[in-house]
Subunit: 394 residues, 2 copies
C-alpha cells in the first residue's frame, strides 16, 4: 500500500506503472495529477461524478508516457481541485492534501496532491497542470520548485483540459537536478546555442501587488539576482493595470472552461463544491462582448510582454502575493487570495511565457516562492538560472 | 573589488577569467582552489614561501580551462590549507575562511575557501582537490554538496599535487543542478547505458566510527534511501579495521607527499604551520617497509571494496564522524578530528571510488553530511541519486 501521510494521492485507486529499464530518469519516482490519463484507469478530475461518467482511458497521456519511457516509475495519481478550477487545493470529495511545510494551511491548487507528495518526499517529481497558476501556486505555498513551461511545449493529449489557450503541463521537484532532468525529457535537450538570461527586469506594479512581508522575505534572493544580472526597473508592467489583466484572463478562462465542460455539466448535473460551481455558473454568463474585449486586452498584454521580455531578459516576481491561507479561512478570505494571486499568475498565462517558482525564503515556517519568467522557449535557461538563486547557508 | 564577507579568497590577488560566450555552463560563476594554475599568475598553494619560489604559470590547469570553455566565469582563487596537507581549513598566512553555516567553527579543509565561497553564495560552483577528504570534509562541514570523482577521471595537470595515487580534482555546489552540470563538463555526458544504483549497502563499522548524534541526525535520510533501495548490512567493511585502513592510507599519502615536495622543502625551508610541518617531518621518516605493508593493506582494501560495491551498489556513510570543530579547539582535539575523519574518508581514497556528500541534516545549526560511494565510473548515477535524498519539507 502506498505510504501517504499527507493525503496527496487519490483515495481508493492504485495507479502505478514501471518505467523503462533504462533512460535518463531511471531511478526517479513520479506522481501524476488526477487529470492525466493512464491506460486502463478512469481519470477522476477530482470529482466522483466525473469518474462515474467516464470510461477507463485507452491511452496513457503523452507526458506520462514520456517520463515512463525515460525510465521513471509512476507511483500514483494525486488529488486535484475539481476540474482544476481553483487555486486553493481544497477538495471535499477526496480530502485536502496536507501542506507539508505548513500543515495548518492549504497546499494551494489545483495540483495540490502533486505539490504535497513532492514536498513531503513521497516522490522525486510530479506532473501537474497550470492554467492560471495551478502548478506555480501550490509549488510556492509548499516550498518546492514548480515549472509552467512555454505554452504548447509539452504535449497535453490525454489530459483533462480546462481552458485550452491557457492550459499547460507542468511539473514539481524539491531539487533543481530532477527538475532539470524532467525538462530535458518533456521539452527535449537544452538548445545548444541559446544565450543565458543576462538582464533582470523588475516591475513596480508587480511587486506592489504582494504583501510587504512577502516582498521583504524575497529581498535577499532579489539581491543575489541583482548582483548577477544588470537590472532595470519599469514602474508599470501592465499598462492597463494588473487587475485588468487578471480580470480579462479570468473572462477568457471562464469562457473556455464553459466551452470545454458545458455538455458534461448539463448532462451530469454533478455535485461540485460551492466555489467551483459558482465559477462555472458565472462562466455560463460570460458574453461574447466580454470575450472580445478580453481578447483585445490579452493581445495588448502579450505585445507589452513581448516588448519588455526579450530572449535574454528575465522578469522576477513573487509567485503568490501572500503566504498559504489558513485552512480555516473564510470564503471571503479564500476569494481574496484567489483574486490577488491571479494578478500575478495571469502574466505568464496571457502570453504563454515559461515561469519557474523557486523555494528561496520563508516567513516563519511558511514558504515564500520567487518566480522567474522568460521569453518563450527559454525554459532550460530559466531552470539553470533558478538553481543559482537558492538561499545560501547563514 | 571582489565581495568576500567570509574571507574565502586568497588575499591580495585578483585572478579572474571570462568564460566562453556560450556553452552549457554559461551564466555560472566559479572559484578555483589556490592549487590550480591560471596562466600568468603564480599559484600560491596556501603558503607565501611557495608563492615566492615559483614562477607565474604558463598554462591554465585543464579543469579550469574546461569550465571556462564551457562558459563559466572564474571569479577568483580560494584559500587552501598549506600544500593541501590538512583537513581543518585553518591557514595562518591567508586566514581561516568563515564557515558560513557555523561561524564559530572551522570550515574544514584543505579546500576551505572553495567550500566557504560556495556555501556563502559567492559562487555557484568551486573547484577543489581531494586527496584524503579535502573536498568531502569541508563540503560536509559547510552544508553543501561536494564530489570526489572516480580517481583519474578529471585531468589534474596544472594542479599542485600532494599524493599522486590519491589526488583528485573535485567540486562543490549548493544545488544539485550546477553540481551535475559541472560533472557533465569535467567527466563528460552521462553514459547512456549505465543502470542507476539499485542496492544500498550499510556497514556497521563505518557507522560506529561516527558520533551517536551524527548517526541520529542522518537517520531520516537513511530511511528515505532505504525506502527507495533494497538494503543489506555487513558488520565489517574494513576486514583489517577502519583504523588500520586509515593508518595505511596515511602512510602512503605521507610517502607520496614527501616524494613530491622534499626537494622544495629542503631547498626553501619554508615557514609552515606547526601541524603541517610535523606531518612532513613524519613523512620523511616513513620507511620502505612501512610503505610495503601499507600497499598490501591498500590492495586488500581495494579488493574488499570491489567485492562489496558492484556497479549498482551504493555505500552510504557519514561524511565526517562529528560536526565542525570549534575554532578554539585544542591541538589535541583537532588531531583527534583528523584521526577519526580519515577512518571514513580513506575508504574512497584507497580504492579510487567516487563519493558525493549531500547536505541532508543539521545538529542545531551545524551541518551534517551524508555520503554515497559507488563503483568506479558511476559518478553520474551517484549525483542523480544524491539529488533524491535531500530533506523534504517538515
Amino acid at each position: 500500500m502506498l505510504h501517504d501521510p499527507v493525503g496527496a494521492f487519490v483515495p481508493g485507486e492504485a495507479v502505478t506503472a514501471t518505467g523503462a529499464p533504462d533512460g535518463p530518469l531511471h531511478g526517479l519516482t513520479f506522481a501524476a495529477k488526477d487529470l492525466f490519463a493512464v491506460a486502463g484507469h478512469v481519470t477522476g478530475a477530482g470529482n466522483p461524478d466525473w469518474r462515474r461518467t467516464h470510461e477507463p482511458a485507452e491511452r496513457t497521456a503523452s507526458a506520462v508516457r514520456l517520463l515512463l519511457d525515460a525510465g521513471a516509475d509512476l507511483v500514483g495519481r494525486t488529488i486535484t481541485d475539481e476540474l482544476a478550477y481553483s487555486l486553493l487545493g481544497v477538495n471535499a470529495h477526496h480530502g485536502t492534501p496536507t501542506n507539508p511545510a505548513a500543515p495548518d494551511s492549504v497546499p494551494g491548487g489545483s495540483s495540490s496532491g502533486s505539490a504535497a507528495a513532492t514536498a513531503a518526499g513521497l516522490v522525486d517529481v510530479a506532473l501537474g497542470t497550470d492554467t492560471s497558476g495551478s502548478v506555480r501556486v501550490p509549488a510556492g505555498l509548499c516550498g518546492i520548485y514548480g515549472v509552467r513551461p512555454t505554452f504548447g511545449s509539452v504535449p497535453s493529449d490525454g489530459v483533462v483540459g480546462l481552458a485550452p489557450s491557457f492550459d499547460t503541463v507542468g511539473w514539481f521537484a524539491r531539487e533543481s537536478l530532477p527538475l532539470w532532468q524532467v525538462a530535458t525529457v518533456l521539452l527535449g535537450p537544452a538548445p545548444p546555442d541559446q544565450p543565458p538570461h543576462d538582464h533582470l527586469l523588475v516591475a513596480d506594479d508587480v511587486w506592489a501587488a504582494a504583501d510587504d512581508e512577502v516582498v521583504d522575505a524575497l529581498l535577499p534572493a532579489m539581491q543575489r539576482l541583482a548582483v548577477r544580472l544588470p537590472t532595470s526597473e519599469v514602474p508599470q508592467l501592465a499598462t492597463e493595470g494588473l487587475d485588468v489583466w487578471a480580470d480579462q484572463a479570468r473572462v477568457l478562462v471562464a469562457r473556455e472552461a464553459w466551452t470545454v465542460h458545458r455538455e458534461w455539466l448539463r448532462s451530469t448535473n454533478p455535485t461540485l463544491s460551492l466555489d467551483v460551481k459558482q465559477r462555472f455558473d458565472a462562466a455560463a454568463l460570460v458574453t461574447d462582448d466580454e470575450v472580445t474585449r478580453a481578447r483585445a486586452v490579452r493581445d495588448q498584454a502579450a505585445k507589452r510582454l513581448d516588448d519588455l521580455i526579450g530572449p535574454t531578459t528575465v522578469l522576477a516576481l513573487p509567485t503568490a502575493p501572500e503566504i498559504a491561507p489558513l485552512l480555516d479561512s473564510t470564503d471571503a478570505q479564500f476569494a481574496e487570495f484567489r483574486r490577488r494571486t491571479l494578478a500575478l499568475t495571469c502574466i505568464a498565462g496571457l502570453a504563454g511565457l515559461p515561469q519557474v517558482t523557486i523555494p528561496v525564503a520563508a516567513l516563519a515556517e511558511y514558504p515564500v516562492g520567487l518566480s522567474l519568467i522568460g521569453a518563450p522557449g527559454t525554459d532550460h535557461q530559466l531552470l539553470a538560472l533558478a538553481a543559482t538563486v537558492t538561499r545560501p547557508a547563514d
